[in-house]
C-alpha cells in the first residue's frame, strides 16, 4: 500500500502508469474493437493518408488498415517485451542466486561464463541465436531474453552475496534447513525488490531490442504485425510515405517512454534510500524566506552577532523548527562554546551563519546574522562566498567525510588559499606547508602529498584546522571538531586552537556536546535545547552554578578530570521532535521540577549581566558571572 501511494505521489510515474494502462487496456480489448482485419490487403488502396476512406491512420504498403495493425502489433510487442523481461529475470535471477548463495567455485565458474557472454556485443549474440533457431517472434523472444540473462545474473548475484552471510541465513543453516528451503524462504523474498527494479527498468529496453530484431526481419512473420516489423516494412516507403513509419515509430516511443517513467517511479518507490526522502542536492546557499521584521544588531563590539535566528527544515508538509530564534555573539579573541545534545540545533545554528545549511530542506525563516555590522542573511551568494573561508572559516567533525577523498590534502589547502588570494601555485604550496607545520603535522613537506585516507584521524583533523586557518579568518566556527578523536589527540587539538586564538586574536564558536571540552577552551558558553538557547553565561559561572536543570544534567554527564570514576548521569528521555513543539519549556517532559506553569506560554531568556536562563524554576539564583 505504501508502495502504491509512493508511486502515485510521483506525478510523472503516475502519468507513465496511466498512459501504459491505457495502451495495455487498448491492447487487451483490441480483438473486441470494431477494427478492420489487420491482415486483409487491398493493394489498390495502399498508402492512404490518415483519415482517408475511413482509415483513421491510413493504410500501409499493401493497403492494410494501419490502426488495426498498430493495435494488434502493440499487443504482440507488449506481450513479447514482458515475456522476454520475465524469462530473462527468471533465469538470470536463478543463476545469480545460485552463484551468489553457493559462492566459491560454483560462483567463479558461473560468473566467468557471464563475463564471456557480456563481452559479446549483445546484438551479435541475439543475431546468432536467431540465425541458429530460425526467424520468428518466439525465437526473437528467446534471443532477447537470453542476451539479457547475464545482466540479471550479475545484478542478482551481487545482492545475494551480500545476503548469503547475513545472520538470518546463518541461523537458517544452523537450524538445518536445506539449501532450496533457505533460498526460497530467506534469500528470495529479499531479492525480489531488486528483481522488480531491474525488470521495470529493462522492459522498455527489451521492447526496443525485439523491435530491432523484427526490424531486421528476424522477428514476427508476415502477415503478423509487431511494431518492429511494421517499422521494418514501412522503411522502404520512408521517403514517399513517412506516415507508415511514423505511426509504429511513435507507438514504440510512447510505450517505451511510459514504461520508463513508470519504471523510474517503481525504482524510486522501492529503493530504500529514495524512500527515506527525496534524493535532493543542497543549493550553494541556504534558502532564505524571512518573515517579519529584521532585528537590529544592537550594541556593537562583536565580530559576529546572531539575532533571533530561525532556521527550519521543510520536508514535504512538515516543518521542523531546528533553530527557533537564537541570539549569539562572539568578540575578537573570544571563544564561545555552544553545547547541547545531538538534535538540539547547535550545528544548524552554526551552519546558518554562512548559509551552509543543506537546502532543500533547510530554510532560514527569520532573524539576522551580523558580521562586522553587516547582515549576511539573504546577502547575495557572491558576497557570502567571498566571506566563506576567508573571513569566516569552519572546522567540521569527521574529517574523513569532510575532506575530499580524491584530492591530495595539499591541493585542498592550496585551493582554499587561491580561491581568495591570487597567489601562484608554488607560493600557495609553500604557504600550505607552513600551515601544516603550524598545526604541528610532522614531515609536512611529504604529508602535503598524501590523500586523506592515508592519514590518521588526528592528522586529518589538523588538516581541517589548517584549512580553516589558511586565510587568517576573523571567525572560526568549529563544529564538534574533536568528537571522533581519542582523548590525547583531542587535548592536543584543543590546546592548538587555544594558542591560535590567543596568537591571532580570532573569534571561535566552538560547538560540542561535551562540557569538559567547553571548560578547557571557552570563555563563555551557550546551552541549546530544542533549537533555543536555554542558558548562557561565562563558562566558569555556569559550571559553578548551572541555573537551568538541563544544564546541570549536562554537566553531570562529564567525568571530572582527576576526580576518578564518577557516576555518569544519563538524561532520561529523548529530546523533543522539533516539528511538534509543545508550548512552554521544551525540556519540561524530561524535567523533574516541571510544573503546570512550565507547559504554558513562552518563557523568556532572562538574567543579570552576562548570564541568562530560560527557566521559571532555576536550580540557582543567577549572579553576574565573572569569567
Amino acid at each position: 500500500m505504501q508502495f502504491l501511494s509512493l508511486l502515485l505521489r510521483n506525478r510523472l510515474a503516475a502519468a507513465g502508469g496511466v498512459v501504459l494502462s491505457l495502451v495495455l487496456l487498448l491492447a487487451l480489448v483490441t480483438p473486441l474493437l470494431p477494427l478492420a482485419n489487420p491482415d486483409v490487403t487491398d493493394t489498390a488502396n495502399r498508402f492512404l493518408m490518415p483519415g482517408e476512406q475511413g482509415h483513421w491512420l491510413g493504410t500501409d504498403h499493401l493497403g492494410r488498415d494501419l490502426l488495426a495493425r498498430l493495435l494488434h502489433g502493440t499487443r504482440l510487442s507488449l506481450a513479447v517485451g514482458f515475456a522476454a523481461a520475465f524469462f530473462a529475470a527468471f533465469f538470470g535471477a536463478a543463476i545469480g542466486i545460485i552463484a551468489g548463495y553457493f559462492g566459491g567455485r560454483t560462483d567463479n565458474l558461473i560468473m566467468r561464463g557471464v563475463d564471456m557472454l557480456m563481452a559479446f556485443p549483445y546484438i551479435l549474440l541475439a543475431l546468432a541465436i536467431v540465425a541458429a533457431l530460425g526467424p520468428g517472434l518466439t525465437n526473437a523472444l528467446i534471443a532477447v531474453a537470453a542476451v539479457n540473462v547475464p545482466f540479471f545474473a550479475r545484478n542478482i548475484r551481487g545482492v545475494t552475496v551480500g545476503l548469503a552471510h547475513k545472520e538470518f541465513v546463518d541461523a537458517a543453516r544452523l537450524a538445518g534447513l536445506g539449501h532450496t528451503r533457505i533460498i526460497l524462504t530467506e534469500i528470495l523474498p529479499n531479492v525480489i525488490p531488486v528483481i522488480v527494479i531491474a525488470m521495470s527498468t529493462t522492459i522498455g529496453w527489451m521492447i526496443l531490442e525485439t523491435a530491432g530484431l523484427s526490424f531486421l526481419g528476424l522477428g514476427s512473420q508476415p502477415p503478423q504485425a509487431d511494431l518492429g516489423s511494421m517499422l521494418g516494412e514501412a522503411r522502404g516507403a520512408l521517403i514517399t510515405n513517412p506516415h507508415t513509419s511514423v505511426v509504429p515509430g511513435a507507438m514504440i516511443l510512447v510505450i517505451v517512454m511510459s514504461i520508463n517513467l513508470l519504471g523510474d517511479g517503481v525504482r524510486d518507490a522501492l529503493d530504500p534510500r529514495l524512500r527515506s526522502g527525496a534524493l535532493t542536492r543542497p543549493m550553494p546557499a541556504t534558502r532564505v524566506e524571512r518573515k517579519g521584521t529584521i532585528p537590529a544588531e544592537g550594541e556593537g563590539g562583536a565580530v559576529l552577532n546572531l539575532r533571533q535566528l530561525q532556521t527550519q527544515f521543510h520536508v514535504k508538509n512538515r516543518i521542523y523548527k531546528a533553530v527557533g530564534g537564537v541570539d549569539l555573539k562572539v568578540a575578537p579573541g573570544e571563544c564561545l562554546g555552544v553545547i547541547g545534545e545531538s538534535g538540539s540545533g547547535k550545528s544548524v545554528t552554526a551552519l546558518s551563519v554562512m548559509g551552509l545549511v543543506a537546502s532543500p530542506p533547510g530554510v532560514i525563516t527569520g532573524g539576522a546574522v551580523y558580521f562586522q555590522g553587516q547582515d549576511l542573511v539573504g546577502a547575495p551568494y557572491e558576497r557570502l562566498r567571498a566571506l566563506r573561508g576567508d573571513k569566516v572559516a569552519y572546522i567540521f567533525q569527521d574529517p574523513l567525510a569532510t575532506l575530499h577523498p580524491l584530492y591530495k590534502v595539499g591541493d585542498q589547502l592550496v585551493e582554499a588559499i587561491r580561491v581568495h588570494h591570487p597567489v601562484s601555485r608554488s607560493e600557495a604550496r609553500a604557504r600550505a606547508v607552513a600551515l601544516l607545520k603550524q598545526v604541528r603535522i610532522p614531515n609536512a613537506e611529504s604529508r602535503i602529498d598524501s590523500y586523506p585516507h592515508e592519514m590518521s584521524g588526528g592528522m586529518r583533523q589538523r588538516v581541517g584546522i589548517a584549512m580553516a586557518l589558511a586565510n587568517d579568518p576573523e571567525v572560526i566556527i568549529a563544529d564538534e571538531p574533536t568528537t571522533a578523536l581519542d582523548v590525547t589527540v583531542q587535548a592536543q587539538i584543543l590546546s592548538l586552537l587555544d594558542d591560535l586564538r590567543r596568537e591571532r586574536g580570532l573569534a571561535i564558536i566552538f560547538i560540542t556536546h561535551d562540557f569538559g571540552v567547553v571548560a578547557q577552551l571557552c570563555d563563555r558558553v551557550a546551552v541549546m535545547y530544542a533549537g533555543r538557547i536555554v542558558e548562557t553565561g561565562p563558562t566558569a559561572a555556569v559550571l559553578r552554578a548551572p541555573a537551568h536543570p538541563y544544564t546541570s544534567r549536562l554537566i553531570a554527564c562529564v567525568p571530572e578530570l582527576g576526580g576518578g570514576r564518577r557516576r555518569l548521569e544519563a538524561i532520561p528521555g529523548l529530546p523533543p521532535a522539533v516539528d511538534r513543539l509543545e508550548p512552554g519549556c521544551a525540556f519540561a517532559p524530561r524535567c523533574l521540577k516541571a510544573s503546570a506553569a512550565c507547559r504554558e506560554g513562552d518563557i523568556a531568556l532572562e538574567g543579570p549581566g552576562a548570564r541568562a536562563v530560560r527557566c521559571i524554576h532555576p536550580e540557582a539564583e543567577l549572579e553576574e558571572g565573572v569569567a
Binding site: 493518408m49 516494412e233 522502404g236 521517403i239
Partner: protein, 529 residues
C-alpha cells in the same frame, strides 16, 4: 488532395526534428550533396561486389561492374538477347553442332599490356574446367557448369580457337555472352594468383583503378578500347545495400545513377531532375507448387491457385508497375522463343473456388515459404503477404514461413517434400533453355541434382526440352519451346506471377543511358555532364 496531405505529414516530421537539427547545425553545417564533377559517374550499387573475377561470381550486382572491365568472345546485341561478335570476329559451327571455331579480333590487348590471343582463351576455359590446371585453385568457379559440355579447347593458330563439345548444346553461344564467359588476362592471374579477384585485368572499355572495401570500386576509361574509347573518364560503383538509403542518396544528389529502384520510391523520381529507365528482362517470378504431395498434387488445385492470385494487382500495386504479369515459364524477353498466343491465367476467384470444390478441397492447408530478399526476388515479403491474402480469400489456409535468402535456398533447393507446399522463386537467365531444363524436367528433381523442387513431371515436356537443347536451328528450338510453354501453363506446376522490368534512375546530368534486357549495365556510351 493526396499530395497536399503528404506535404503536410512531411512537414510534421520536419518540425519534429527541427530542435534536434538546430543543435546539430551549431556543430557542422557543411554543405553536403555537392555535385559530382562532369565525366565522373557515380553508380549506386545494391551490394559490395564479391570479386572482380568473372569466373568466380554469380551475382548480377557483380556483373554490372565486370561487363565494363571485360569482354567475352561474343556479346548480346544492344537491346536484345541475341549474340553478336565481340572479341571473336566470327565463328563457325560444325554440322553436328559439337565443334565451334572462333576467329579472334586482332591487335587487342589486356589492360596489363599483355596480348589477347587464342592461348589466352584456352587459359580462361581450362582454368575454370580442368581440375589439374595450375590456376584452377584461384576458384571456386560456381558457374563453370555453363560450359560443362566443353570437352577441349584447342589453339589452332594465335587468332583461331576451337571448342570441342561432348554433345550438341544449343545455349553454348548464349552462355559465352554471359559474364562467366568473359576473358581475363592470363598474365594477371599468373601474377596475382588467388588475389586476382582484387586486381582484375580485362580488355573492356574501362580499366580497374581502385577497390576500397565497402566504400567504392573505381574504374577509369580505357582510351585504347578496340570498340572506341568511352565517353566517361571515371566510373565509381558505390555499394549501398539498403534500398531506402540508396533512394535517399539519389534524391540528395550523392549518386548519379541508381539501379533497382524500390517500387514505392518511383514516385519520388517524377519530374525533370531525374529520368527513370525501364527494360523488361529474361526474368520470371513464380511460386513453386509441391506437385508430389498435399493439395497441390491435384492439377485442379494448382490451377485454382493460379486463378486466385490477383497478379495484376501485384504488379500494378505492390510492384508499382515495375513488372508485367507472367503468362508461362518463359519470359517474353526471349522474343524468339516466346509463345505469343499464351494468355496469363485471369484473376477469377469464383473459378478458383469452383476448381477447389471440384477437387473436393474446400479449405486446403498450405505452408508457404517466403524469403526476405534475394537476387531477383523483388519485394518478396510484401508479395508473399499479398498472395497469402488472395489465396485465403478463395478458401486456402496459408501459413507463411519467412527465411533469410541463404537459409531459404537451403530449404527450397533440396525439394519441398515433407516441409512445404509452396515457395517463392525467381530466375534470371540468359537462354530460354536454362530455367525449364533445370527446374521443370523429371530428371531435374532435387535428388538428381536439379532445381525442380516441386517435383513436376511430364514426359512430354522432358522430351521437348531435350530436343530443343541439341538442335542448332533457332527456328526449330523456338517451336519446341513454344509447345513446352503451352503444356506447362496448362499443367500449372507453378503459379506464374511476374516478369520483372528492370529499372534505373539517372540524374539530369546523365545522358545516353539505356538498360539491357540482359540486366547488364553497359556504361561505354554514357555521358555525364
Amino acid at each position: 488532395m493526396k499530395q497536399g496531405i503528404l506535404n503536410w505529414t512531411r512537414r510534421g516530421v520536419l518540425g519534429a526534428g527541427t530542435a534536434l537539427g538546430l543543435a546539430m547545425s551549431l556543430g557542422l553545417a557543411g554543405q553536403a550533396g555537392a555535385q559530382t564533377p562532369p565525366g565522373v559517374l557515380i553508380v549506386g550499387q545494391i551490394a559490395e561486389p564479391k570479386a572482380l573475377d568473372p569466373a568466380a561470381v554469380t551475382a548480377v550486382n557483380d556483373f554490372r561492374i565486370l561487363m565494363n572491365v571485360y569482354d567475352g568472345l561474343v556479346r548480346y546485341k544492344s537491346g536484345t538477347l541475341e549474340v553478336e561478335p565481340a572479341l571473336a570476329e566470327s565463328w563457325e559451327i560444325s554440322e553436328d553442332g559439337t565443334t565451334y571455331t572462333f576467329k579472334l579480333r586482332e591487335g587487342v590487348s589486356f589492360h596489363d599490356g599483355s596480348a589477347f590471343d587464342a592461348e589466352a582463351v584456352k587459359f580462361n576455359f581450362d582454368r575454370m574446367l580442368k581440375e589439374d590446371h595450375p590456376y584452377h585453385d584461384t576458384g571456386p568457379f560456381p558457374l563453370a557448369f555453363f560450359f560443362s559440355s566443353v570437352e577441349e579447347v584447342t589453339v589452332v593458330d594465335p587468332l583461331t580457337v576451337e571448342f570441342q563439345l561432348n554433345a550438341p548444346y544449343a545455349p553454348f553461344l548464349s552462355n559465352l555472352a554471359y559474364p562467366t564467359g568473359l576473358i581475363v588476362s592470363p598474365s594477371a592471374v599468373e601474377e596475382y594468383g588467388a588475389d586476382y579477384d582484387r586486381h582484375p585485368s580485362g580488355t573492356g572499355p574501362f580499366t580497374f583503378a581502385e577497390w576500397e572495401s565497402n566504400t567504392h570500386v573505381i574504374l577509369n576509361a580505357n582510351a585504347d578500347y578496340w570498340d572506341g574509347a568511352p565517353e566517361l573518364e571515371t566510373v565509381v560503383f558505390r555499394p549501398i545495400t539498403d534500398a531506402n538509403t540508396r533512394t535517399a542518396e539519389m534524391l540528395a544528389g550523392g549518386i548519379d545513377l541508381m539501379v533497382e529502384v524500390p517500387p514505392v520510391a518511383l514516385s519520388e523520381f517524377e519530374g525533370d531532375d531525374f529520368t527513370v529507365v525501364e527494360q523488361a528482362g529474361p526474368h520470371v517470378w513464380f511460386l513453386i507448387l509441391n506437385a508430389k504431395e498435399g493439395p497441390f498434387a491435384e492439377k485442379a488445385v494448382r490451377q485454382a491457385a493460379n486463378y486466385a492470385v490477383n497478379k495484376t494487382a501485384l504488379v500494378e500495386n505492390v510492384l508499382e508497375g515495375t513488372a508485367d504479369v507472367a503468362a508461362g515459364p518463359t519470359p517474353p524477353a526471349f522474343a524468339w522463343a516466346y509463345n505469343e498466343s499464351l494468355e496469363p491465367y485471369p484473376y477469377d476467384p469464383e473459378k478458383a473456388k469452383e476448381l477447389l470444390a471440384e477437387a473436393g478441397m474446400e479449405a486446403p492447408e498450405v505452408t508457404f515459404y517466403v524469403t526476405e530478399g534475394g537476387s531477383g526476388m523483388l519485394d518478396p515479403v510484401a508479395m508473399g503477404t499479398a498472395i497469402q491474402a488472395d489465396l485465403e480469400a478463395v478458401g486456402f489456409d496459408v501459413t507463411i514461413e519467412t527465411y533469410e535468402w541463404n537459409t531459404f535456398l537451403g530449404e527450397v533447393n533440396p525439394g519441398l517434400e515433407g516441409k512445404a507446399d509452396m515457395a517463392e522463386m525467381a530466375w534470371m537467365t540468359n537462354d530460354p533453355d536454362t530455367l525449364p531444363y533445370l527446374a521443370l524436367r523429371t530428371d531435374a528433381w532435387p535428388d538428381k541434382g536439379g532445381f525442380n523442387s516441386g517435383y513436376y513431371s511430364n514426359p512430354e515436356v522432358d522430351e521437348l526440352l531435350e530436343k530443343a537443347r541439341v538442335s542448332t536451328s533457332q527456328e526449330e528450338r523456338a517451336s519446341l519451346y513454344q509447345e513446352m510453354q503451352a503444356i506447362v501453363q496448362e499443367d500449372a506446376p507453378w503459379v506464374f506471377v511476374a516478369n520483372w522490368k528492370q529499372n534505373a534512375v539517372t540524374s539530369s546530368a546523365v545522358e545516353d543511358f539505356a538498360l539491357e534486357p540482359s540486366f547488364f549495365l553497359l556504361l561505354k556510351d554514357v555521358v555525364k555532364n
